[in-house]
């Protein structure tokens, strides 16, 4: 495989920076994950 030239590397770096920022923003846009339902309380049987 041919080595990437400086231009390609720079383009990829800029794309990566953009993608990371968008992923961050998408993360902020998503609502908080729903909390797991509370565990049912088990009554201890006496005796």
């Amino acid at each position: 495989m041919a080595e990437k030239d400086e231009g390609q590397l720079l383009t990829e770096e800029r794309e990566r920076a953009y993608r990371e920022r968008i992923a961050e923003l998408k993360g902020q846009a998503k609502p908080d994950a729903p909390k797991p339902p509370p565990k049912p309380k088990v009554k201890e049987k006496n005796g």
Binding site: T11, R14, E15, A17, Y18, R21, I22, L25, K26, Q28, A29, K30
Partner: protein, 318 residues
Amino acid sequence: MPAALYSPHLEEVQIAQEAAWGDAAAPTIGMAGITSCRMTPNVNTSQIVDKRASTMPAYIASVNNLSGEVDMSGIVTYTQVQYLLNAMFALDAATPFTYIAALAPAAPVTNNILYGQSGLCYAMSGAVMDKLTFHGDTNGPLTFDAHWFGKVPVALARVALTPPAVIAALGGQTKLYIDPIATAHGTTELTLTAFSFDFEMTNSRAPVWHLGTLNPDNYKHGKWGGSLRLVVEMTAATKAYLTAILAATVEPVGYNIRLMAAGGGTTNLTMDFSGHLLEAPIMFTDQDGVTTAELTFSPAYSSQAAMLSCYKFSNVAS
């Protein structure tokens, strides 16, 4: 006598999202809600007026370079606005479609834009968007105007595509929020205030020609630009903004402005703008007997943590 062969009523617009600039991929998207499209070939030719002992106008002519332009207008839909935003910013393939104006240029989606009707279609490949404007008022859907440059249009057969059912974004669904530039967008809603807006974005991209090509063989990026013009009712809150703007003595006041159209279901288009009020506000205008002010903001970088740009968009398609 046979009927006229072609009719403007049969025209349509289809686009492809090119994988590589100028690959002329076949259109895959039938655009809905397009109300106007103008495709302009730029064929730069000249005649050489040489000295040859003759009064004839010219003997030699040359094609110097080629390019094209497309101007398109239509309504904004939650269903397809991401195709415009992909072209203005960079590809996002999954909802919530999210975009920012990047500090270092990110590659936009380039398009192959086909316009015409069966038997009479032309397509402009390598289409790079350099201007996108959204308009909103109280009288119907939000609308857009977009401009692309690209290679000279060539004849291309239409593809059998049906535009999808779309959901229009309406002025009646759009809210306005204005906050200081250091406060997050969408913090302070101004109800009963906005009448209309014009949100214009430019990016100073331009075609590039090298030796060995007639069509542009590349394009270049430039600085982001544009403006946001708001027509707002003169309320106590508007008056407070105006007073602050006029009282600025060191630098103009900066604002984070959000326009958000929330449609049915989960559809939601959020347009965030950061900028300064550079032009003096136009005071004491009126709209149908209501005193208004016209504020025109120029985009600027906002260092607010959720922004870090001058433009940010989010579209939840469904």
